[in-house]
């Protein structure tokens, strides 16, 4: 279980990007991070991943804190970036092997993990080509495959569907659901509300660097779309429908 508490961060003095951000992702839960552009979603993800130094607050995954046990923490999670920036001069196979080596995954295990994923995403024929020659979508597929080599407790995805074809989006959705079914957590940010609505158990809506609302989607009546809820929360319009919304920062 991921516990984020009291996360604050600023790039420039006196201009906070995040202020006291607190939320959790339970085991087997799929959580979507939503918010307008520039509210601090990516910064929050970067802090959770350890890409930025923690200034205030704490991030814990299971028994390990990012601050105190960074290596154990990192071993339990993995990430898919939205930028498609992976080692361009390696071939797909070399990249997959490199990531597996870094997570100390034995040869037999990595073969068991990678083979079905490679088949599902149909990337066999690209594995011996340099990554720089591949399309954005294929790079993203390889990044997704590599990110599952350590069977992470927490899988973080930043705009994961960008550049993927329809079949690959379907495979990715199934993967996310299957991981949750096996008790693993998934946290992802997306602007596509439909995907969040179909996949997520919980939506975390951020505004001005802080948590605005947490929405338990399972509790909501099926006839009301996430879009309505999101727009209502973000635009601060009073709501008279029967949604289950937890107001974190009243």
């Amino acid at each position: 279980m991921l516990e984020v508490s009291g996360l604050s961060f600023h790039y420039q003095p006196h201009v906070p990007v995040l202020t006291d951000l607190t939320f959790s992702v339970l085991d087997g839960e799929i959580v979507g991070l939503l918010g307008k552009n520039g509210v601090g979603k990516t910064t929050a993800l970067k802090l959770i991943l350890g890409l930025l130094p923690l200034e205030k607050g704490s991030v814990c995954l299971g028994n390990y804190s990012l601050d105190l046990h960074p290596m154990q923490y990192k071993k339990q999670m993995n990430y898919v970036s939205d930028s498609h920036d992976i080692y361009n001069n390696l071939t797909g196979k070399e990249y997959l092997n490199f990531i597996a080596d870094m997570y100390e995954v034995p040869s037999e295990t990595r073969s068991k993990i990678y083979t079905p994923l490679i088949e599902a995403f149909q990337v066999e024929k690209y594995l011996n080509s340099p990554i720089k020659k591949l399309s954005h979508g294929t790079k993203q597929k390889i990044a997704v495959i590599a990110s599952l080599v350590n069977d992470p407790l927490l899988w973080v995805l930043d705009e994961p569907m960008t550049g993927l074809d329809v079949e690959a989006v379907q495979v990715l959705k199934e993967l996310i659901q299957s991981r949750a079914a096996h008790g693993k957590s998934v946290l992802f940010s997306s602007h596509i509300l439909e995907i969040c609505e179909n996949l997520c158990d919980k939506i975390v809506i951020m505004q001005a660097g802080t948590l605005q609302k947490t929405i338990e989607l399972r509790d909501n009546p099926s006839y009301i779309s996430l879009e309505d809820i999101y727009l209502e929360v973000v635009n601060d319009v009073p709501m008279d429908k029967g949604f289950s919304i937890k107001q974190n920062n009243p």
């Binding site: 991943l49 990192k74 001069n89 092997n97 490199f98 080596d101 034995p106 040869s107 990678y114 490679i118």
Partner: protein, 530 residues
């Protein structure tokens, strides 16, 4: 006229893309950053010291030449040196700006012709050369004007400086443009063709010079040979006799060169231009996954990402592999067979053998100091830096592997250097052993310093890989720091020699002090926060 305005606007944009340090003025508008202030002061002070010595050196050269009654040779020598430096710099700039850069893919989206973009790039190279010329020739111009007491030297320098970059860059640019056109027609990698074109051009020029020197007769004295060798540009002898007014008029040639390049590039490239990279062959074969240790895997990754990128190979290895070859080449040009035999005898003579070791060590230490592989190791990660942060392999360990990788490259340079010292200068095996041992210690230190500096503040935002090396302030900082430490060591060694220290004592001092510095830098890297 509108077309030319567009070309110059394009050139301005290309300058901003390729020379991000020109955007330094924006930093000044922001709140002063301690790092930027300290770094600027350090770089400026070091540059100031170098420039001061450069000024003094030129003054002494002029005095020496004047005493020999060769004052006229000074201008010729200064222009020749500038032309040589511009040849090397412009070759690199042309490869970087014309071939490595992918900006043309974006610029072609605008309603401009390929020749507009190419001319913009040509002007960018020329402007950079003008900047270098200003630094190189201004002291020479001041010294000569001061001694001659009239303004004719100023006019000579201004007009020569205006046309010199064009004389150097124009043929190279035309060669590269033709190579790019061939690459487009063949749908092949443009970099290899352009580099080959430049090498063919230089090889042709060198053969031309050697053949023309061969016809001059054996009885000619050294002075005449030097005089014949240092020709800054064609028709220099006629040019120098021109009336000052005519020399000023020659400046117009700069515009003529730009115009000619514009029409030539239009003629060569035509209306359409496209970039093709080599198609990656898709080879389907059984996928096997072999595990290896983190250290081995990371080292392999470093090796693969570096050597598969021609930008890194050309920019990163130039200093290490070219410098060793320059040494025998310079001896070859300046000394005859008899002199070389004398040098070999000196190297093996007991009273001079230690001095020979120190000289070789100085060459190796300085060659290792200009190694840019370590000081750009984190910056080269660029946008994929996030992978380094998320993998469960601590950043300090990654830094040590990067230092190991860059040291392995430095060691390759040391091996080449030692081979040249052994084969060409006849150093003994004991001498080579001492040189290799101390040289490797220095190489380890320089690489650790480079990695440590780049680790603290890597330059991760770049569009062209060359920026990670060539426009990286960490690289400059690291080189300057390593050279400053080297100079300190040279003074210390000289002082010890004067005070009669034994050779073993000096070598022990060098080795031990470098080991202490290595430990200190290692401690610095190990204390890095995750």
């Amino acid at each position: 006229m509108y077309r030319w305005i567009k070309v110059f606007q394009l050139s301005k944009t290309i300058r901003k893309i390729h020379f991000s340090f020109l955007n330094f003025r924006y930093k000044l508008k922001e709140r002063p950053d301690t790092y930027v202030i300290v770094l600027t002061c350090f770089v400026l002070s070091i540059a100031g010291v170098f420039y001061y010595y450069y000024f003094q050196m030129l003054g002494q050269l002029y005095d020496g030449l004047s005493e020999l009654g060769l004052g006229d040779l000074f201008c010729r020598l200064a222009l020749f040196a500038a032309a040589m430096i511009l040849s090397i710099v412009s070759a690199f700039l042309l490869i970087n700006i014309f071939c490595f850069s992918k900006d043309i893919e974006h610029l072609l989206l605008f309603p401009v012709r390929p020749c507009d973009i190419f001319t913009g790039k040509y002007i960018t190279v020329i402007m950079f050369c003008y900047g270098i010329e200003l630094l190189l020739l201004l002291p020479a111009c001041i010294i000569q004007t001061q001694y001659m007491g009239d303004s004719s030297a100023v006019i000579t320098y201004i007009s020569a400086a205006a046309i010199l970059p064009h004389i150097v860059v124009f043929p190279l640019a035309v060669f590269v443009t033709i190579c790019l056109k061939i690459a487009m027609l063949l749908k092949r990698m443009r970099i290899m063709l352009a580099v080959t074109g430049i090498m063919v051009y230089f090889a042709g020029a060198l053969i031309g010079v050697l053949l023309s020197n061969g016809q001059t007769g054996a009885e000619r004295d050294l002075l005449n040979r030097v005089h014949d060798l240092i020709v800054p540009f064609p028709f220099y002898n006629s040019y120098i006799r021109f009336h000052p007014g005519l020399k000023l008029f020659c400046i117009i040639l700069a515009a003529v060169f730009i115009g000619v390049y514009y029409y030539l590039s239009h003629l060569v490239i035509g209306e359409k231009y496209a970039i093709y990279d080599k198609e990656g062959r898709i080879r389907i074969k059984a996928v096997k996954y072999n595990s290896s240790s983190k250290l081995r895997s990371y080292f392999k990754k470093e090796y693969q990402t570096f050597f598969r990128n021609p930008v890194y190979v050309i920019n990163g290895l130039f200093g290490i592999f070219i410098t060793p070859f320059l040494l025998p080449l310079s001896f070859r040009i300046s000394a005859d067979a008899e002199n070389i035999e004398q040098i070999r005898a000196l190297v093996s003579a007991p009273e001079f053998s230690f001095y020979a070791v120190l000289f070789a060590l100085a060459v190796i230490v300085l060659t290792s100091a200009i190694n840019v592989v370590a000081s750009s190791s984190f910056s080269r990660e660029g946008a994929s830096f996030w992978i380094m942060k998320i993998i469960p392999y601590s950043l300090k360990r990654q830094a040590f592997v990067k230092a190991l990788f860059s040291t392995s490259i430095s060691i390759m340079g040391i091996i080449i250097n030692c081979s040249i010292f052994k084969v060409y200068f006849n150093y003994s095996f004991i001498q080579i052993g001492i040189i290799s041992f101390v040289g490797i210690l220095f190489a380890v230190l320089w690489n650790l310093i480079g990695v440590f500096i780049d680790m603290k503040r890597p330059k991760l935002e770049w569009t062209n890989e060359a920026e990670a090396i060539k426009q990286n302030v960490n690289v400059v900082f690291s080189i300057l720091l390593c050279i400053a430490i080297s100079i300190g060591y040279f003074f210390a060694a000289a002082k010890m020699l004067q005070n009669g220290f034994a050779a073993g004592g000096i070598i022990t001092f060098l080795s031990c002090s470098v080991c202490i510095l290595i430990l200190l830098v290692c401690k610095g890297i190990a204390s890095h926060q995750e």
